[in-house]
Symmetry: C2
Subunit: 235 residues, 2 copies
């Protein structure tokens, strides 16, 4: 039998989910929480996320929720997409958990997703509220997450890589002066691929975004490499 | 007195708004509707938009709503941002109109915005449902719109220009073979600026996206110009 409310306007819950990518000079990771359960079912991993409150806008909501669940603050979160499949919170495991935390666990939830990229060393997340644990998970080894969070992470990763390729956001992750090897390594970590050194340098030269400095590395136990900086206009 | 519900989860209405840009070889326009009113107040211009229904996802909602209000279909709509200021539908004029069409005119509305870019000649919008008129409005002459729709149009335009610059989406608006003058004109229309011919061609040459053809324009009353196409991989 068709749902008689199917063609009625929806009054969903609206939530925010945060995809925080962490970069540690070796790997790209994503911040996950383990849901604290009061039931007798196994806890799931998920993105830090919760419902938007009546008096806050979406950006404020993202900032508050990330802080409440992980104690992280001062992180620039960028909204990237709303996810609204009508049945995105309806699977059994998610329903079990929602019944322990939500007033209307059956309500449809439309979520607005944010992402961020930070240097991991600068942030120390701590679990709080309904987050039982927080973990930095390697993006190449993400297990099954609650809700549609695997999809959200994948789309955030695609967006991050796109921004990285088109807008050179790399400069936020590098010191002001860097070597081409450092830059290549960063690209390999974020894009998740091995790059050919010659092609990488050829492409860089063409893009006109780097300025060679009259300066070399110091304090290294190999032949010091030349240092570069981003040309002005790209910070 | 503080609103006692301020820190309660929000159960907003969720809507979708569509920013359809039209390109007509001369100008960049945006599709607006005039709200049909049953009250005695002046109708406002706004983006085509309406509430998401209980059984549809966000993309389905955008497609349905655009069709219901303007008869346009077969248009690729790309989601770009959710807008969720708590008071985005609270000004007097918007409230007057909402009271004539909505069950809960006071409810907070979070909207998910989509945009599109089409060749105007291929589409003939017609007003329907609560749209009293549809008009193609020049983007440089947009009047005051309902709700926060001026903000939504501005952000859509910024996104469109960004995609245009970084991803060369221009090829969708040009014939397969085109002259550099046609390409420059297109860039000027979409970006809303005059470009210097020499700099434009220098930048193009560097970007390596065009392939010169062994062919010239025909049927023109000036010296025929060389034709180009996009290099493969960019369609």
């Amino acid at each position: 039998m068709a749902d008689k409310n199917a063609s009625r306007p929806s009054n969903p819950n609206v939530s925010v989910d945060c995809v925080v990518f962490g970069f540690d000079d070796e790997q790209l990771k994503v911040l996950l929480i383990e849901q604290r359960t009061s039931g007798d079912f196994a806890p799931q991993l998920a993105l830090p996320g919760d419902l938007v409150l009546q008096d806050e806008n979406l950006d404020e909501s993202a900032t508050r929720i990330l802080k409440e669940l992980t104690h992280l603050e001062g992180i620039y979160l960028k909204q990237f997409k709303a996810f609204g499949d009508p049945d995105r919170v309806n699977n059994l495991k998610d329903q079990e958990w929602l019944r322990t935390v939500r007033e209307n666990p059956d309500a449809r939830v439309i979520t607005v997703a944010y992402y961020s990229l930070v240097k991991m060393e600068a942030y120390r997340p701590e679990a709080a509220s309904f987050a039982g644990k927080v973990i930095w998970q390697n993006v190449s080894e993400i297990p099954e997450l609650g809700f549609d969070h695997n999809k959200i992470v994948n789309e955030a990763l695609a967006r991050l890589r796109e921004e990285f390729e088109f807008k050179n956001i790399a400069f936020e992750l590098l010191p002001k002066k860097f070597t081409l090897t450092m830059l290549q390594k960063l690209h390999e970590i974020v894009l998740g691929v091995q790059l050919d050194k010659r092609n990488f340098r050829k492409k860089l030269k063409k893009s006109d975004t780097l300025q060679p400095l009259d300066e070399k590395q110091s304090g290294v136990d190999h032949k010091p490499a030349q240092l570069f900086k981003y040309t002005s206009g790209r910070k």
